[in-house]
Each structure stands twice: as C-alpha cells, then as structure tokens.
C-alpha cells in the first residue's frame, strides 16, 4: 500500500518543467527582510528599554528629587545631578559608583550611562549633571529615545539624547530640530548626544529629536523620533 502511495504521489507531482526560482530575487528579498526585521527589532528594544525610564524620570522630576550627592563629577556645572534607571527606579548616590558605559562631558555639564557592576543582567542608569536644576524638564522615553533639557542661561540650553545603538562602529546622527544635526558618541550598544541650542530652557517651544543610526557600511539601521 505505502509503495503504491509513493508511486502515485511521485506520478502526481511529475511535470515537464522543473521549478527553479531565480536565486538572485530570493537573495534580494531575503536581505530586505533581514534589514526590516533588524530595524523593527532595534526599535522595539529601544521602546522596551526606555518605557520604564519614562516613568522613573517623570517621577523624579515631579517629586523634585534631590541630586545624588557624590563627589563625582564635581565641577560647578555638575552641581545638579540626576540619575534614573531603565526599570523605573529613581537612583540616589550609588549610581555614580556604577561602571561607566560611556559619557559625554562639556563645559555645561555631562551625560553618562552607567551599569551595575558584576551582574549578568545589569541595571543601567541614565545620568546627567548641570549647573542648576531646571524648573520644567521635558524628559522620558519616547520612541525608544530618552531626551533631557538643561538650561545654560537666558539664551541657551543643552539637549541630551540617550538611546540604544546595537552593533560595531555604528554612527548615530541626531537632529534636535534647530536645523543643526550632529554625531553622538556610540559605544557598547548605547549612544549619547549633547548639543547646545541657541534657545533658552524652559521656553515656549517643544523639544524634538530625530535619530538615525547607520551601520559600519553606511546603511540606515534604525530610525527614531522623540
């Protein structure tokens, strides 16, 4: 019976023309899918990572939590310190002793990403320092991007943008909506970008950030908006 069945099925599927699809088209379609999935995956991870940060930073700002009081960084422009984690916990002093993943420091303050040392699944802290505490701080994760504003004086402010950039030799270009874009510092799957704007903060305008992440070959790997 089974031998007959096999013969019948063999005969039923016999046809003069072999089915051989164009491999070039399949490869091209496959590459496109890989690219799309990678892009979607990056954005989804970003959204998940910063979902908790949104809550944490909102809490921190509304409750007016005091900055961590550790000696680092200790310049006058680092007087106000603020760290939050990705799981929604507002951090105090201990975050400044965590391992630094990457940092960007300038004359107006600093931005850094830190992680708990020696853990298989570390907790990350997204920290900034600035001269004074801002009375109204736009903050939180939106579209997988964490944005913070720091006042400098009556005419200027600093925008800090944090995010994820998976892969080696990634280039992160950020546009904060003032017709100037710049390149962030990317390392260890994260990036941070600092930019001085000729606009005061708080002001009567809404901050924005558009992030484009390019891989080592110059191909667009991820795109996000705050």
């Amino acid at each position: 019976m089974t031998r007959e069945l096999k013969n019948l099925m063999d005969r039923a599927t016999d046809r003069p023309d072999l089915f051989i699809p164009d491999p070039a088209k399949l490869v091209s379609a496959g590459r496109r899918r890989v690219r799309n999935r990678r892009l979607a995956g990056s954005l989804a991870t970003l959204v998940m990572l910063f979902a908790g940060v949104t809550v944490a930073i909102d809490l921190q700002d509304t409750q007016g939590a005091e900055p961590a009081g550790t000696p680092t960084p200790s310049r006058p422009q680092d007087a106000y310190k603020l760290c939050t984690t990705s799981n929604g916990t507002a951090l105090a002093d201990e975050a400044w002793s965590w391992d630094e993943v990457l940092a960007s420091t300038d004359e107006y303050g600093s931005a850094s990403i830190r992680k708990t040392p020696g853990k298989e699944y570390p907790m990350y802290a997204f920290c900034i320092t600035q001269r004074v505490r801002a009375t109204s701080v736009p903050t939180g994760g939106r579209g997988g991007i964490l944005l913070r504003k720091s006042p400098i004086d009556r005419t200027r402010s600093v925008t800090t943008v944090f995010g994820r950039a998976y892969g080696e030799q990634m280039r992160v270009l950020v546009d904060t909506g003032d017709r100037k874009s710049g390149e962030g510092v990317a390392r260890s799957d994260f990036f941070v970008y600092r930019h001085v704007e000729l606009r005061p903060w708080p002001g009567g305008w809404k901050p924005t950030a558009t992030v484009r992440i390019y891989d080592a070959n110059g191909h667009l790997d991820a795109f996000g908006k705050w």
Binding site: K6, A12, I20
Partner: protein, 175 residues
C-alpha cells in the same frame, strides 16, 4: 551574510526548490500556490540560513518551513483569495480523458484533498518525502505518537477511498 554562505544558499535553492515545491503541491493541490509557498519558505530560510547551516539541519528545517507556509496558505481567509481560488483542490479525473484515467495522476490529489490537513501532511511527509516518524513529528511540531495515529487514520481513509479502490482494481486487471 558572507559570500560563501550565500553561495551555499543559492546552491540549495537551485537544487532543492523543485523537490520542496512537489511536497507543497501534494499538501495544497495547486501548482501556483505550491510555487508561491515554496518561494516564501525559501525567503524565510534566507534569514536563518547561517544558523541552520551551522547546526547541519538545512534539509529538515527547509521542509518544516515549506509545510508551515503551505498550510498557512490553506488557512487564509477567503477575502484574501485571488482569482481561481475556487478551483483549489477541486481536482477531479476528467472522464473525457481516458489516458488520464488510466494514468490516475489526479486520483491521489483528489484522495489527499479529502483528508484533514494534519493527516495529509503526515502521509506526504512519511510516504512521499520518506521521513521517519520522528522527523515528521519535528517538521509538524507534534509528538511522534500523534504522527503515528494521524498516519494510521489517513491510510485507513485512503484504503477505503473509492477512486483508489478503482485504481487497485485497474492495477489488478492490468496485471
């Protein structure tokens, strides 16, 4: 994907696409759909090619993807059907084609069409692709016991199918 790995993928497509398409045809009974399902499966395969090649399970994984894309196609809503969809699996022996009758090319597709999807897949994988019970279970994502019982039920139905009974009679007459 590295060039040499991609070359292996192209080689696989060139040599295996037709065989996978035949499996898909027996599952869905329509060459056009079988070709579409096979192409879709091969594109999906590209994404994981490096990983499955390292594992050495290219053949069985490819068959698994072809089966799932073909069966997914069968589950699609009628609103997504295209022109010609109604003729899907309505294959019947043309009484005006005695040669076809004798050849019985369509008898088996007709008989397979009447089996539930899972039973049909078991029969095709076990007796057309000649997979073992365990391999079939891996492809269908079920237990070997399920494959055995589904196959047994399917064979019972095929044994009692009138068209196949006629075939046995014809075969008997022809010696």
């Amino acid at each position: 994907m590295r060039k040499e790995v991609e070359a292996d993928y192209v080689d696989f497509v060139t040599h295996q696409a037709n065989s996978l398409c035949r499996t898909a045809y027996l599952l869905c009974g329509d060459w056009k759909r079988a070709e579409d399902a096979t192409q879709e499966a091969l594109i999906r395969l590209y994404r994981v090619w490096g990983r499955i090649q390292r594992k050495g399970s290219v053949g069985s994984y490819a068959r698994k993807v072809v089966v799932s894309t073909t069966l997914d196609g069968l589950r699609r809503k009628s609103s997504r059907e295209v022109v010609g969809g109604d003729s899907f699996f309505a294959a019947e022996v043309d009484p005006g084609d005695p040669l076809g009758m004798l050849e019985n090319r369509l008898v088996i597709t007709q008989a397979l069409a009447e089996l539930p999807t899972r039973q049909r897949a078991c029969v095709v994988l076990r007796y057309f692709d000649e997979l073992s019970v365990d391999e079939t279970a891996a492809v269908l994502g079920c237990r070997p016991g399920t494959v055995k019982s589904q196959t047994m039920r399917a064979l019972d139905k095929l044994r009692n199918h009138p068209a196949l009974a006629e075939l046995h009679a014809l075969a008997g007459l022809g010696g």
